[in-house]
C-alpha cells in the first residue's frame, strides 16, 4: 500500500502548489471538451430528432451510419483526422496537425454520433400521438419538434452529457492528433498516460484526481438534475 500513501501525499502537494505544468493541461482539456461538445450538440440534437421522431426516405441508412460511427474506435478517428490534416493530406495546408483545433475536430467526430444516437433514443420515447396532439392545437412542424425535444429534455441532457463524458474520458484520438505537446496540446488523459509510463505515479495520480473530479462532477450534476426535475414535477 506504500505506493498509494506516498503518491497521494505527493499528489496533494502538486495540486495545491499551483505551479508546474498542471494548469495549462486542465485548461486545454476543458477547451477541447467544451468546443467539441458544443459542436456535437449543434449537429447531434437535430440529427437525433430526425432519426428518433420522424420518418423519411433514407432514415434507416442514416441510423446505420450513425451507429457505425459510434462503433468506430477513437484511435481510428484519430488516425483518419491525422491523415487528413497531415502535410500531404487534403487539409494539410491549414497546418492544423498537433493543435487544439485538430483535437476539437477529432473529438467532435466522436461526440456527435453519441449525442445523436442518445437523442434519437430519448425523443423516440415521446409518443407520436403527443405530436399529433400539438399539431391538432395548431403547431407547425418546427413547433412540434421543439415540443418533442422539450418533453424529452432529460434524455437530451443525458445525451449531451454522454458526448461530453466520452470527450473528457477518451485518450485515443487526442493522443494521435494532438501529439501530447507540453504547454500546447497536452490534456489530462494524455498527460496521465505519459506520467504513468514514466513511472511518476505521484504526478499521474494528481492528474487523475482532477480528471475524476471533472468526470464525476458531470455525472453527479446529471443525476441531481434528473432527480430534481422529477421531484419538482411531482410536487
Amino acid at each position: 500500500m506504500q505506493v498509494f500513501t506516498e503518491s497521494i501525499g505527493q499528489a496533494t502537494r502538486l495540486l495545491f502548489e499551483g505551479s508546474g505544468g498542471i494548469w495549462p493541461v486542465i485548461l486545454t482539456t476543458l477547451e477541447v471538451a467544451f468546443f467539441s461538445t458544443l459542436a456535437g450538440f449543434v449537429l447531434g440534437v437535430p440529427m437525433g430528432f430526425l432519426m428518433g421522431a420522424t420518418r423519411f426516405r433514407g432514415r434507416n441508412i442514416f441510423i446505420a451510419v450513425t451507429n457505425t460511427f459510434m462503433a468506430v474506435p477513437p484511435v481510428v478517428i484519430g488516425l483518419l483526422v491525422m491523415m487528413v490534416l497531415s502535410r500531404q493530406g487534403p487539409l494539410g495546408s491549414f497546418g492544423l496537425l498537433y493543435t487544439v483545433d485538430a483535437m476539437v475536430i477529432a473529438q467532435t467526430l466522436i461526440s456527435t454520433p453519441i449525442i445523436a444516437g442518445l437523442t434519437a433514443a430519448a425523443v423516440g420515447t415521446v409518443p407520436r400521438k403527443l405530436r399529433l396532439q400539438a399539431r391538432s392545437l395548431g403547431a407547425s412542424r418546427f413547433q412540434e419538434a421543439l415540443l418533442v425535444i422539450r418533453e424529452a429534455r432529460l434524455g437530451v441532457l443525458a445525451a449531451v452529457a454522454g458526448g461530453l463524458g466520452a470527450v473528457i474520458r477518451g485518450v485515443g484520438a487526442v493522443l494521435i492528433v494532438g501529439g501530447n505537446i507540453e504547454g500546447e496540446t497536452r490534456v489530462l488523459t494524455t498527460a496521465i498516460v505519459q506520467e504513468s509510463r514514466r513511472g511518476d505515479f505521484a504526478k499521474a495520480l494528481a492528474l487523475c484526481v482532477i480528471l475524476l473530479v471533472i468526470a464525476l462532477a458531470l455525472n453527479a450534476f446529471i443525476t441531481w438534475y434528473q432527480h430534481y426535475s422529477e421531484r419538482s414535477e411531482n410536487a
Binding site: P127, L132, R135, S136, L137, A139, S232, E233
Partner: protein, 387 residues
C-alpha cells in the same frame, strides 16, 4: 352563445398501411353544430379516420371540406379552426395553465386575454383555480378535463374527441360524459367523437357511423342506426335484433300495418301499401308478458306471440332472444323478471312494444332508397320512418 360549428364533409377517403386498408370511406358529412360518433371495434380504423378528418394525418386519397371549401392536409388556417383530445390526455410538462395556454400562444393571443380564457375554460370543465398545479399530480379524469379545456379554449369550429373516456373508471366516466356533452352543446361546436362503446355514442351523438375493417357499415341518425342496423354483424355489435322483413298492408295517418310472417306489426311511417320493408325494434323497448296473460289495451299496440330460444346475461340485465312467426326479436329484462316469470328457452311469452318504438325502412331491391328527412349524410345507409 353564437354558433361556432362549421360543416365537415369528406369524400373518398382512403388510407392504407402497407397492404392493409385502414380507412376506406366513400362519403360522410356532419352539419354545423352537430355531433357524429364513429363507432366500431378495435382495429376498425376509427382513430385513423379521425386523424384524417382532423388534418393530422394525410390520406392516400380523398378530400375534406370545411363549410364547403376543400382543405388540404397542410392548410394551416383550416387547422386553426380545429382542435382535438385523445384517449390519453397527452399533457405537456408543466402546469395546467401552461397546457391550456399552448394553442393560445400559437395563435398569439395577448397574455392578459390568455389568462382570462384559461381561467374561463378551467371553470367550465370544473377545475376553477387549478392553473398552477403540475400535470403530474392529476388523476386520469382530471387530466382528461385539462385536455378538453386545452382544446375547447381555442373555440374550435370542429372538435375531435378520440375515445376521451375509454381509460376512465365508470364513476369518472359518468361525470365526464355529461360535462363533455353539455359543453359541446353549449358551444355548438361540430364534433367528431370516436368510441367503441355504444352507450357513450348514444349519449353524446346525433349521428352515427359504424365502422368495420376501415369501411362504413352503417351511417345515419343515432336512433335510426341503433333501432334498425343494416346487417347481422352491425346488429350483433349494437346489441340489437336482426331486421325482420315484411309487407306494408295498411297505411294511413302516419300509421303502418306491416305483415310479418302472418303477424301484424304496427309502426309509424309513410310507406305505401304493398311495399316490402325491413322492421327493427330495440330489445330495451320490448316488454315480456306471460303467454296466457290478458293484457289490457294500452299505448303498446304491438303484441306478438313468441317462444324463448335463448337467455343470456347482459350485465345487470338478461338478453332474451324470441322466435316469432316473422323471425327473431330480442328483449332485455331484469334478473328478477327472469326468475319470477321462469323465462327459459322453450317458454311461451307475449312480446309487447309500442308502434313508435319500431324502426322501418325499405327492404333492399325494392326500388331506390329514399333520402332521410334530416339528410345530414349524403350517403345514408340506414334510415327510418322518422319522428
Amino acid at each position: 352563445m353564437d354558433v361556432l360549428g362549421m360543416t365537415l364533409r369528406a369524400e373518398g377517403l382512403k388510407k392504407s398501411f402497407g397492404a392493409r386498408v385502414v380507412v376506406d370511406i366513400e362519403s360522410l358529412e356532419v352539419a354545423a353544430g352537430r355531433t357524429l360518433a364513429i363507432l366500431g371495434p378495435s382495429g376498425a380504423g376509427k382513430s385513423t379516420l379521425l386523424s384524417i378528418l382532423g388534418l393530422l394525418e394525410k390520406p392516400d386519397a380523398g378530400t375534406i371540406y370545411l363549410d364547403g371549401r376543400p382543405v388540404h392536409f397542410r392548410d394551416k388556417s383550416a387547422r386553426m379552426h380545429m382542435a382535438a383530445a385523445f384517449q390519453s390526455p397527452y399533457l405537456f410538462r408543466g402546469t395546467i395553465a401552461d397546457n391550456v395556454a399552448y394553442g393560445l400562444k400559437l395563435r398569439r393571443v395577448p397574455s392578459r386575454k390568455r389568462r382570462e380564457d384559461i381561467s374561463n375554460a378551467l371553470a367550465r370543465v370544473g377545475l376553477e383555480g387549478w392553473e398552477d398545479r403540475g400535470v403530474h399530480t392529476l388523476s386520469g379524469g382530471e387530466a382528461q378535463r385539462v385536455a378538453l379545456a386545452r382544446a375547447m379554449v381555442l373555440r374550435p369550429s370542429v372538435l375531435f374527441l378520440d375515445e376521451p373516456l375509454a381509460s376512465l373508471d365508470p364513476l369518472a366516466k359518468g361525470a365526464l360524459a355529461s360535462d363533455f356533452s353539455r359543453i359541446i352543446r353549449e358551444d355548438s361546436m361540430t364534433t367528431v367523437y370516436v368510441t367503441h362503446d355504444q352507450n357513450e355514442a348514444v349519449s353524446i351523438a346525433d349521428q352515427l357511423i359504424v365502422m368495420r375493417d376501415g369501411r362504413s357499415v352503417a351511417q345515419g341518425e343515432t336512433y335510426e342506426v341503433m333501432g334498425l342496423p343494416p346487417d347481422e354483424w352491425t346488429a350483433e355489435f349494437l346489441g340489437a335484433g336482426e331486421p325482420l322483413e315484411g309487407e306494408v298492408v295498411e297505411s294511413g295517418d302516419d300509421l303502418l300495418g306491416i305483415d310479418i310472417g302472418g303477424q301484424k306489426i304496427w309502426a309509424v311511417g309513410t310507406f305505401s301499401k304493398g311495399e316490402r320493408v325491413l322492421v327493427g325494434v330495440r330489445p330495451e323497448d320490448v316488454l315480456l308478458f306471460e303467454g296466457e296473460a290478458d293484457i289490457p289495451r294500452s299505448t303498446a299496440r304491438n303484441r306478438l306471440d313468441a317462444r324463448i330460444v335463448d337467455v343470456r346475461m347482459w350485465g345487470v340485465m338478461h338478453h332474451i332472444v324470441l322466435r316469432t312467426d316473422g323471425g327473431l326479436i330480442a328483449s332485455r329484462v331484469s334478473h328478477f323478471s327472469v326468475r319470477d316469470m321462469g323465462l327459459a328457452p322453450g317458454a311461451f311469452v307475449q312480446a309487447v312494444f309500442k308502434a313508435t318504438a319500431v324502426r322501418v325502412r325499405l327492404a333492399p331491391g325494392n326500388g331506390s332508397s329514399r333520402s332521410s328527412e334530416r339528410g345530414s349524410f349524403s350517403d345514408v345507409t340506414t334510415m327510418g320512418a322518422g319522428d
